[in-house]
């Protein structure tokens, strides 16, 4: 599922799956834009308006002005400050979900505060310009949600509507895009995203940076989801977290005792649970696809995107088919750090022109072991195991490298490279990269992946 921070990678993958320098640059640009896009807006509501009670018949109006006037007092802008600065570092949106000033927003809006509690402070600003402190009560990294308390502010809460609207239903999104003031956008719900690992509602309407954490509403002014992300360079493809998850987090937040447990420990526990779920969803028989005589892991689950491409020119020394697959499962943890994801690619080489020696060199180059880029702020160096191993019907060079997360103990990145050694005219190099997973489960998956490789001439 696309998230604010990952939108660029999605765009990258959609283009053709071949990573080039220029595309990398583009994805970086997109990330910057995307992180901006993850910010929220507050409503500058004037007169308080009656909040619809659950008893009110829904869909009394499809007018955006009506919807906005109803919910305006409940929407705030959440702003983050670095140190004692008065200029903001980031901003997002939030909305009231319970009495006593309990608000819902995105985890990624408050992530820096959760990870560096002493370095950041959070404040709200209402549409009237009233400001005050915000404290984080509970977080749900998996669904990118957070429950916060705003000091000295208690508007009537919005009602959460856990039933996902059907495709074609009118929907509205409210927030503070790019810090330009309270904004409502009108669009259409396209129901649940079917092949997403994390549950999302597909909203066809504009969601921009700063609207993150703001409410998405139906025509009756009930919250159907929380603004979470959109693609950059696409038109009106945006995503909401379904309200049922907001309700679940709210229930948990209201039940827990104040000051119970550490939020950072929660993050680690939730990352571990997500990692377990991710590999659990990939359990079972591993589907393969045969290319040039080699059975290679194919699309392993609906939430994995695969793209196969090649150069069609007929007279090349080596013909290369590239198969790139990536799971859309990465969780935003903090700036520059995503957890719980995996991707794999196969480079299948064949030649009719090169001799065995030069073909072997081409295969060596394809098998070259670049580690997936990580920051030493977050991970340690790799440790590797590199051997020639007999697999099903062929021998292969197998390289497995592991590095540990520094602040999330028990999570690891894995880099796997497998290259066939049996063909003088055909061969493949397979790359598997996994991020933020538990060691035992990760290694088990690698073993299944390697076991699935087979020579089927």
């Amino acid at each position: 599922m696309p998230r604010c921070g990952l939108a660029g990678l999605e765009v990258n993958a959609v283009n053709n799956g071949v990573e080039t320098v220029s595309m990398r640059r583009m994805s970086l640009y997109v990330l910057t834009a995307a992180s901006m896009a993850c910010l929220a807006i507050t409503a500058y509501a004037q007169a308080p308006v009656a909040v619809p009670s659950p008893a009110v018949t829904p869909a009394t109006s499809e007018n955006a002005r009506d919807v906005l006037s109803r919910v305006r007092p409940a929407v705030i802008q959440i702003r983050g400050f670095f140190g004692s600065n008065t200029a903001q570092a980031f901003h997002g949106s939030g909305f009231a979900v319970a009495a006593d000033g309990v608000f819902m927003t995105n985890y990624h809006v408050v992530a820096q505060k959760v990870q560096y509690p002493d370095k950041y402070r959070l404040e709200y600003r209402t549409a009237e310009g009233k400001t005050g402190r915000i404290t984080v009560l509970a977080i749900d990294v998996r669904h990118d949600l957070a429950v916060v308390r705003a000091a000295g502010l208690a508007p009537a809460p919005l009602k959460l509507e856990p039933v996902v609207p059907v495709k074609g239903d009118r929907a509205y999104s409210i927030g503070f895009p790019l810090d330009v003031g309270l904004t409502i956008t009108e669009g259409v719900s396209n129901g649940r995203v079917e092949d997403s690992f994390d549950p999302r509602i597909h909203y066809s309407g504009a969601i921009n940076g700063g609207m993150s954490g703001g409410p998405a509403l139906n025509a009756a002014g009930e919250v159907i989801g929380v603004n979470v992300s959109g693609y950059i360079f696409t038109q009106l493809v945006a995503f909401l977290v379904p309200a049922e998850h907001a309700q679940a987090l709210l229930d948990r937040a209201l039940k827990q005792k104040p000051g119970a447990g550490s939020l950072r420990k929660d993050v680690l526990a939730q990352l571990r649970a997500h990692a377990t779920d991710l590999l659990g969803a990939l359990d079972g028989a591993m589907p393969t696809q045969v290319t040039a005589g080699y059975a290679l892991p194919a699309k392993l689950a609906p939430f994995i995107d695969c793209i196969a491409s090649g150069d069609p020119a007929p007279d090349q020394p080596v013909h290369i088919v590239r198969i790139n697959c990536s799971a859309k499962a990465g969780l935003y943890v903090q700036q520059g750090l995503y957890g719980g994801n995996l991707k794999y690619s196969h480079f299948v080489l064949s030649t009719s022109k090169l001799d065995a020696w030069r073909f072997a060199r081409q295969l060596s180059d394809g098998a070259f072991a670049f580690g997936e880029h990580g920051s030493r702020r977050h991970v340690g160096p790799f440790s590797c195991n590199n051997r020639i191993v007999g697999l099903k019907g062929f021998d292969a060079g197998v390289l497995v490298c592991v590095r540990g997360y520094r602040k999330f103990e028990g999570l690891y990145d894995f880099t796997v490279r497998v290259s066939s050694l049996n063909g003088s005219k055909r061969g493949f190099a397979s790359h598997l990269d996994m991020f933020g997973l538990e060691f035992e489960a990760g290694l088990r998956f690698i073993k299944r992946y390697v076991d699935a490789l087979e020579w089927k001439p």
Partner: protein, 338 residues
């Protein structure tokens, strides 16, 4: 008794003779004196020498005996300074008076045989021209092979580039040592230095290639510092041979220098690299080099064993993670993280 001639040579830098004095010994007069004064038999222009500094006696058997005649600075024989010593034997013929090095040569000295300036057919294999040519061909073949292997599209251009740059680098290296030979030994010795460079390179390129091939052929474990170690040993060998041919230092001292220099340079380089690696979280230590499948001689290991070993990566990774230095990477402002 017939007259006997003794040569007294004043040695300059790198053993060059700056002046030569001939002394004739007759009958019972087998002793002459050296000093700054005009009345010494051999006069040296040295402010640190006495007027009559030392006396030298050449025995009928050819032994050279030196005595200090009460000078302030004494005499230096075999690297040791002596004051007022009598009848010290000059084994190597070298005597230091003041700051002047003198060589005493008699008719009894052992001369090295005359060097032939043409190649003896029997020693053709040891001839530098032969070694340089043969190992040069091996090096060219290796480079051409590497160029051919890696460039399936334009082989000729790749090979020309590789050969030209290698030739240039080798030329600079050989010229440096030849110049040193010219200064220290009065001979250019181009061929000898070319033979050393090309011979050592040919041997060690082949060794490196064999080790790399061995991993593939016999499924040996990868050894990450292998290339660096082979390189360091090759450098040490070349340095030893070059020093022996280009300078006056003794073989033992040359061997010492040839061991210490690569060890220091290599050690420092390795230490810096290891430190960088500790900080580079994206570095992967091992890469695969694949050869044609027909070369494989030993069967591969079992996948079960591989994954049993892989389970040990966890403590290894944890150890490296804990050994990391603190949060010193630039953060958000200059952030290039994805």
């Amino acid at each position: 008794m017939s007259a006997e001639t003794v040569l007294i040579e004043v040695c300059g830098i790198h053993g060059r003779v700056q002046a030569r004095e001939r002394v004739t010994l007759t009958g019972d007069t087998r002793t002459f004196t050296i000093g700054r004064g005009a009345h010494a038999d051999v006069t040296v222009d040295d402010a640190y020498a006495a007027a009559i500094h030392a006396s030298v006696e050449v025995t009928p058997e050819g032994k050279v005996l030196v005595s200090d005649l009460g000078s302030v600075n004494g005499i230096v024989v075999s690297g040791k300074r002596h004051h007022g010593a009598r009848n010290l034997e000059l084994a190597d013929g070298i005597l230091k008076i003041g700051h002047t090095r003198l060589r005493v040569r008699t008719a009894h000295e052992a001369l090295t045989p005359e060097k032939p300036d043409h190649i003896e057919p029997a020693s053709i294999v040891r001839n530098p021209a032969f070694i340089a040519t043969a190992s040069g061909l091996v090096c060219v073949a290796q480079l051409a092979y590497a160029g051919w292997l890696g460039a399936p599209r334009d082989i000729a251009a790749a090979i020309v580039i590789v050969l030209t740059s290698a030739l240039l680098a080798a030329g600079v290296w050989v010229a440096f040592w030849a110049l040193l030979s010219r200064v220290m030994q009065w001979e250019w010795r181009w061929l000898r230095h070319a033979a050393i460079l090309l011979g050592v390179t040919a041997v060690f390129i082949s060794l490196h290639g064999l080790l790399e091939l061995g991993w593939f052929v016999f499924s040996l474990p990868q050894w990450s510092t292998r290339a660096a170690l082979v390189g360091a040993i090759a450098f040490a060998c070349a340095l030893y041979l070059h020093l022996n041919h280009a300078s006056n230092i003794s073989p033992r001292r040359a061997a010492l220098v040839a061991c210490i220099v690569p060890a220091l340079a290599g050690g420092a380089g390795y230490w810096v690299m290891e430190r960088e690696r500790m900080r580079d979280v994206n570095h992967i230590d091992t890469s695969l080099r694949i050869y044609p499948p027909s070369l494989r001689l030993r069967s591969a290991g079992a996948a079960e064993d591989f994954f049993r070993d892989a389970a040990k990566l966890r403590p290894a990774a944890d150890e490296k993670r804990k050994a990391m230095p603190g949060d010193d990477e630039p953060g958000e402002a200059g952030d290039d993280e994805v």
